[in-house]
């Protein structure tokens, strides 16, 4: 069976434990600041949100190359733990962004090789919510209605304040705990670990099934993962992780997702 087809099957159906591996690809790229969130706009373009700016990268093969930068508008608020969220729309070539260091959410359009703010709002529009998504003032907790979350992704994926994974609003009592960086890749969840800041982190692939306790792959990271984005690029899945090293520098590192030989 061809490797691509085998991977396709893995991404459609939940894999068994330790069935996959995450393999670093291409060159690491230094990011200009602490990365709060990452999101693929399409197969070739990646957005990175820092405390101060939105960055647009072009993915050359598997390595991100900086293409555009947009300084975030508005006065900065003081926060102890910076956090942010990106919600990209490939069809509309826009993304919503919000950080806990600014009072308002912004809608940013990707125009050729540039970025431009199109709209500002109180919150990020979110499916199923009349009030949208915003940060509880001064904290890194996203509020969907009155419910707080550490992280959210479209498609019903979220991390509860205690680190427990939640899918479609359901958080299994014994479910795996993860960090605040995550994304979805087919039938897998890509997430950072629940280890405390400063300890060695890990990148984990968790099958989206049952009580969310399984682990399809895990790779140790020398540093701390602050953001993740995953995309099934023409059946060649790519995960990009923003990793803050012990030197305080954040780097973007690409990983291939493969069935374990």
């Amino acid at each position: 069976m061809a490797p691509g087809l085998l991977l396709f099957i893995f991404l459609q159906a939940a894999p068994v434990a330790d069935a996959m591996e995450l393999v670093p690809q291409g060159r690491d790229v230094g990011a200009p600041g602490f990365v709060l969130d990452l999101a693929f706009l399409d197969d070739q373009r990646l957005l990175a949100l820092t405390e101060h700016a939105l960055l647009l990268y072009r993915i050359e093969d598997v390595t991100p190359a900086l293409e555009a930068r947009l300084e975030l508008p508005g006065a900065r608020l003081a926060v102890r733990a910076p956090a942010g969220l990106l919600r990209a729309s490939e069809a509309e070539r826009v993304c919503w962004l919000i950080t806990n260091g600014r009072a308002r959410a912004s809608l940013v359009a990707v125009e050729g090789r540039g970025l431009a703010v199109r709209l500002e709002a109180e919150a990020v529009p979110w499916a199923g919510s009349a009030t949208g998504l915003r940060y509880r003032a001064g904290t890194n907790l996203l509020l969907l209605g009155e419910s707080p979350f550490l992280a959210m992704r479209e498609g019903g994926l979220a991390v509860a304040p205690d680190g427990r994974l939640a899918v479609d609003g359901r958080s299994p009592a014994q479910g795996r705990r993860v960090g605040a960086a995550l994304d979805r890749l087919g039938s897998l969840i890509v997430a950072s670990s629940s280890r405390p800041p400063g300890a060695t982190d890990s990148l984990e692939l968790i099958p989206l099934e049952g009580e969310l306790t399984g682990l399809a792959a895990q790779v140790k990271i020398d540093g701390s993962i602050s953001a993740l984005a995953a995309r099934d690029r023409r059946r060649e899945p790519l995960v990009v992780a923003a990793i803050q090293g012990r030197d305080g520098v954040t780097r973007l590192v690409s990983y291939a997702v493969r069935p374990r030989p």
Binding site: V79, R80, T139, G175, S194
Partner: protein
């Protein structure tokens, strides 16, 4: 089987994410101050409580440099004889009013009137009526002589900025104070450093050290001041002899006392986590080790007479008993009198035993403060041990820190899920 192992592993895995917002903690402390108005803190618990509620114009970084606080920047003029501090436009008081230059100048005048050691040092440098508010956002300080920067004295908790209604601008808002028993505070969402991670905390007075330890071990409290854990060697245990009173007017008598005290044994037996120390500045400011001289267990000197030893209440009783025993062995009849730390500083007793923690964590200011404490003979102050300011924490509590100033800071404390 593998699935079972994974479930078990998930349940056992350290569930520490973070830092996480939310939750409350209880902190056991030996005593509680009568109030939280800005003042020169005399004890670790006063430093803790005032630091929770108040904020200063400038602070001191872990490296010892001046750092922005309510003032975000400063600039010199008149060849360094004038310094203008720009207030952070985000700075607010607990009652949500903005921090203005008028508030800052009023607070500086209050600080000068308090006549703390740092205030006296500041007063000597400041020109007459040298604190001005040219507009709402800037504080102008005029000095008698050019200076290399704004004075570090402004980092004293006695120089904390309050508004006319007494509101502070610290990381927590006081909500309940039962004098001597309990002080409860809640997170201040508009703190200049960002909202603290905890929703709130309560300081609870538990005078008995053994009970504090037991409550922490049992998990009934989350943190206990004075217990080992997070530490900074920010205090010096000092025996101050008054050269104007017999027998300490004689250099030989002071020398005899210095030789009689065995610092190593004192530390080993009665001061856990401390170090024998021969400098007056604590290690956080001295910047180097000061190993104790070899113990001299006997001395030929004999002293006579009755003396009073004023003992600060934050000095462990076993330590003061040991010092009394040393003085007694020299031939002195010692009457030990326990007093509040501030009272010991002002006391006219022939001998005083106290923990010296500088008002401001800066060496030149600390030396000036020591000079005021020991006005005559330098050898009249005997440093005995470097003593940590410490706080013990139960498992699952993260982010507490002990600063070089001797302040235990809890605004970055958070709870693991």
């Amino acid at each position: 089987m593998l699935a079972l192992m994974l479930v078990a592993s998930a349940a056992r895995a350290p569930a520490a994410l973070g830092p996480l917002y939310g939750g409350t903690v209880t902190v056991a402390v030996p005593s509680l101050p009568a109030g939280t108005a800005p003042a020169r803190p005399a004890t670790a618990v006063e430093r803790l409580a005032l630091g929770l509620v108040h904020e200063t114009l400038v602070g001191i970084s872990p490296g010892g440099d001046l750092r922005p606080a309510l003032a975000r920047s400063w600039a010199a003029s008149a060849g360094g004889a004038e310094w203008t501090l720009s207030l952070d436009p985000r700075a607010r008081f607990h009652d949500d009013s903005p921090v203005t230059a008028a508030d800052a100048v009023r607070s500086i005048r209050r600080f000068l009137a308090a006549r703390t050691p740092a205030a006296e040092h500041f007063r000597q440098q400041l020109a007459n009526d040298g604190a001005l508010a040219p507009d709402a956002d800037h504080v102008l300080l005029r000095f008698r002589e050019p200076r290399p920067g704004p004075p570090v004295a402004l980092a004293s908790l006695a120089a904390a900025i309050t508004n006319g209604r007494g509101s502070g601008a610290g990381p927590f808002v006081p909500t309940l104070s039962i004098p001597g028993t309990r002080l409860a505070v809640t997170a201040f969402a508009s703190h200049i450093g960002g909202r603290p991670f905890l929703d709130g905390l309560a300081l609870v007075a538990i005078p008995d050290a053994d009970r504090r330890r037991a409550e922490l071990a049992a998990g009934h409290v989350d943190l206990a001041l004075g217990e080992p854990g997070i530490e900074a060697l920010a205090s010096t245990l000092v025996l101050v002899l008054d050269p104007s009173q017999p027998p300490f007017g004689r250099k030989a008598a002071r020398k005899a006392v210095a030789a009689a005290i065995d610092r190593a044994t004192l530390v080993e037996q009665y001061l856990p986590n401390s170090q024998p120390w021969t400098l007056l500045l604590p290690p956080t400011l001295a910047g180097r080790n000061a190993p104790a001289p070899p113990p001299r267990r006997s001395t030929d000197a004999t002293l006579t007479g009755d003396i009073t030893l004023a003992v600060a209440s934050d000095v462990p009783a076993t330590v003061s008993q040991r010092i009394v025993a040393h003085l007694d062995a020299l031939g002195l009849r010692v009457r030990a009198t326990p007093l509040e730390p501030a009272a010991v500083r002002a006391s006219h007793a022939a001998a005083r035993l106290l923990l010296f923690t500088p008002e401001v964590a800066e060496a030149s200011l600390a030396i000036a403060e020591l000079a005021a404490l020991v006005p005559r003979a330098p050898d009249a102050a005997l440093p005995l041990a470097a003593v940590p300011v410490s706080i013990g924490q139960r498992e699952g509590v993260q982010g507490a820190r002990a600063e070089r100033s001797g302040r235990v800071a809890l605004e970055d404390t958070w709870l693991e899920p």
